[in-house]
């Protein structure tokens, strides 16, 4: 009886078109934001930040990026890992080259660099689609990783071949490097997540997003009604890579601190982000968050249960985890192809009518 839209009058087109049309939703959204900004920084500790919260935030950005490309524009990419690496290496080079530049700008610039690379590897999408495009993006995955591990310029000739983030501060608090505290890393990631989610939501419901969706639903028909496929596909690649690049930059600078391309950004990262998008829901901003949460928290819980509670060896638990993830993907594709977001939508529909059946 609480979740109702009765009495919630809309008096303008804008009010009717808002992201959370129901008062209860809007309220819940502000509550979550307030909790994330005002309460979380005081209760977060190193374990929570490192194991769950920060990876969740960073992967949510990557999943948003891939969701724009796959869920909204229908172009399958298996190169997410490489684009994350691109963001990470761009971030590293910029951090080292311009020590005075604020880290926030560095990360945004790294995203822009990745957007450029993404457009370059998105060019084949004008000729090919589907599996063929998936293979083309695999080319990006393997080529970029090879480039980053084989060209000493990218890791500034460091003898280990690793890149490691120097200390940078925001408002006097270190957010990268060894002195960074969990709280400042968390807040940095959170600001990026909120800003990018807002951007994604507003892009996908505007002209650009509608063009993407037209291309996704049927590209030839979209072309006939006047959508320029060149612009639509390449802009999807650019925006998607921008998001993924920022995720990669944060993953390297704020979360890992030091990284090596082949290890940190291998093809398994591409698949992980793809799974997040499938499980969360194709073509949904909320779905990207749900998918990322599911695939970050799930393995942690499983490990807690199997290794810490039952005392199994950790490699056995890891194998069981891959198996469960694989089975989950199949089950989701069969039972709920639109993912957790669709599940949430169904629950909301039911809640609005509850306790009446119709």
């Amino acid at each position: 009886m609480i979740y109702r839209e009765a009495g919630d009058f809309k008096t303008s087109y804008g009010a009717d078109n808002q992201t959370f049309p129901i008062k209860g939703d809007r309220f819940a959204y502000y509550l979550v934001l307030a909790f994330a900004f005002l309460v979380m920084p005081f209760i977060i500790n190193d374990y929570w930040a490192n194991a769950i919260v920060v990876p969740f935030l960073i992967y949510a950005i990557a999943a948003l990026g891939l969701n724009i490309l796959l869920g909204y524009c229908g172009q399958l990419s298996l190169g997410t890992g490489a684009f994350m690496a691109c963001g990470a290496y761009a971030c590293y080079k910029l951090m080292v080259a311009f020590p005075g530049l604020n880290i926030v700008f560095v990360i945004v610039l790294a995203g822009l660099v990745t957007a450029g690379v993404g457009v370059l590897f998105g060019l084949p999408s004008l000729r090919i689609k589907g599996f063929y495009l998936a293979v083309a993006t695999l080319a990006a995955q393997f080529f970029l990783i090879w480039l980053f591990t084989r060209t000493p310029w990218f890791y500034n000739y460091s003898p280990t071949g690793m890149i490691s983030a120097p200390t940078r501060t925001v408002l006097g608090y270190p957010v990268t490097g060894p002195q960074a505290s969990a709280v400042s890393i968390y807040l940095l990631c959170l600001v990026f997540v909120v800003a990018l989610a807002w951007l994604a939501r507003n892009m996908t419901r505007g002209t650009l997003g509608r063009k993407w969706m037209a291309i996704r639903d049927m590209d030839i028909a979209a072309e006939i009604i006047g959508v320029n496929p060149l612009m639509a596909k390449l802009s999807a690649f650019a925006v998607s890579s921008f998001f993924v690049g920022i995720a990669g930059a944060l993953f390297f600078a704020a979360y890992l601190g030091a990284a090596e391309a082949g290890e940190a950004f291998g093809i398994d990262k591409s698949f992980l982000v793809l799974f997040m998008v499938i499980v969360g829901g194709l073509g949904s901003v909320l779905g990207s968050f749900l998918g990322a949460a599911f695939l970050i928290v799930g393995p942690v819980l499983l490990k807690l249960l199997l290794v810490n509670q039952l005392g199994w060896s950790s490699d056995l638990a890891a194998h069981l985890e891959i198996m469960i993830i694989g089975a989950m993907i199949i089950i989701f594709l069969i039972m709920e192809p639109h993912g957790l977001a669709a599940l949430w939508r169904t629950i909301k529909e039911k809640l609005r009518l509850w306790p009446f059946p119709h």
Binding site: R127, F131, Y132, A139, I145, L316, I325, L333, I334
Partner: protein
């Protein structure tokens, strides 16, 4: 003859035999894609799983022993007997057929009429599942697979080329055998699809699903059949790769190498898979040979993909693929 040319020839020959291996994996993809329109990403993991099962049966490992030990606190690992290779191969074939049936029954029956991209993602899920299953069933350590094929440098090739050019080429006997076995496999597949009732049904389904259904061909049976065939091809590929470099996780990565092979050859063409495999094999060896001094090694990781990418821009349907026609 100048030395560089000889070395290049040797690299090219070795590339040919490596290409046969790629073609073997690509063949499994083509079979399934032709009959059901499913792009089976799990083909490489199927090869790994088949090889693991073969080794497990051969050495009499207890399946799921790690899991059983972890749950019940027992310490079992082997039955204490070994199986002759041939019996183990037959056992593995049975396992792969059972696997094909399960995949049809529990996955693709429920995904009929879905978009190809959804089916593709389902096979990625299947690949993960199978990878975990293989590890849990047989353990994750690197295993040695010995199916009785001789390994090491091939003497006759060395002697022959030495007599011709004054320089003995190094070629692995195992790879020559693999090429031979791949040839036999392709010929028997062609004979099967040309001269048996099931083979004709298979071709009919590949041609037109609905027409095949209307003349009374059971699609489900054909799907099980084709997944079984792909399983057998995967077993052969897994055996060859496993004998060459041990049965381990990296085996499943060769599946990724088969993707550019498919792009070159076309998704629907068996000869295309073979030719594509050979082109990729020779191409990457020669490229590595000539470019190594300039850009450094390990170009094999990406050369095939970049070649496929360049190729796609000019001929999206591949060398032998059917022309892609689209309508609104």
């Amino acid at each position: 003859m100048p030395d560089t040319l000889l070395f290049a020839m040797e690299a090219a020959l070795n590339g040919l035999t490596a290409g046969v291996m790629y073609a073997l994996v690509a063949l499994g993809f083509v079979l399934i894609f032709k009959a059901s329109g499913i792009f089976n990403f799990a083909q490489g993991v199927m090869a790994l799983f088949a090889a693991l099962t073969l080794v497990g049966l051969q050495s009499g490992q207890v399946p799921f022993s790690h899991l059983i030990n972890a749950i019940f606190g027992t310490r079992i690992h082997h039955f204490g007997w070994t199986m002759p290779t041939l019996v183990a191969i037959i056992g593995t074939v049975l396992v792969m057929v059972a696997f094909a049936w399960l995949v049809e029954r529990f996955i693709f029956r429920h995904l009929v009429n879905q978009e190809p991209i959804i089916l593709f993602m389902a096979t990625i899920g299947l690949a993960y599942f199978l990878e975990g299953l293989g590890d849990i069933m047989w353990g994750a350590e690197v295993k040695r697979l010995d199916v009785g094929i001789p390994q090491g440098m091939s003497g006759p090739i060395d002697d022959l080329t030495f007599a011709w050019f004054g320089y003995g080429f190094y070629m692995d006997t195992l790879e020559l055998w693999a090429a031979l076995i791949a040839g036999v496999l392709v010929i028997s597949l062609v004979l099967f699809s040309q001269y048996t009732k099931q083979g004709r049904a298979l071709r009919a389904v590949a041609d037109d699903h609905q027409a095949a259904l209307s003349v009374g061909i059971s699609l489900r049976f054909i799907w099980v059949l084709v997944w079984s065939l792909a399983g057998i091809v995967a077993l052969v590929a897994g055996m060859m790769w496993g004998a060459k470099s041990g049965v381990q996780f990296s085996l499943s990565l060769i599946a990724l190498k088969a993707l550019p092979v498919l792009i070159l050859g076309g998704f629907t063409s068996i000869p295309g898979a073979i030719v594509g495999g050979l082109i990729i094999g020779v191409g990457e060896k020669l490229f590595d040979f000539f470019m190594q001094p300039i850009v450094g090694g390990a170009t094999e990781n990406w050369f095939a993909y970049m070649l496929a990418l360049a190729f796609l821009l000019f001929r999206p349907q591949g060398l032998f693929g059917e022309k892609i026609i689209e309508r609104v």
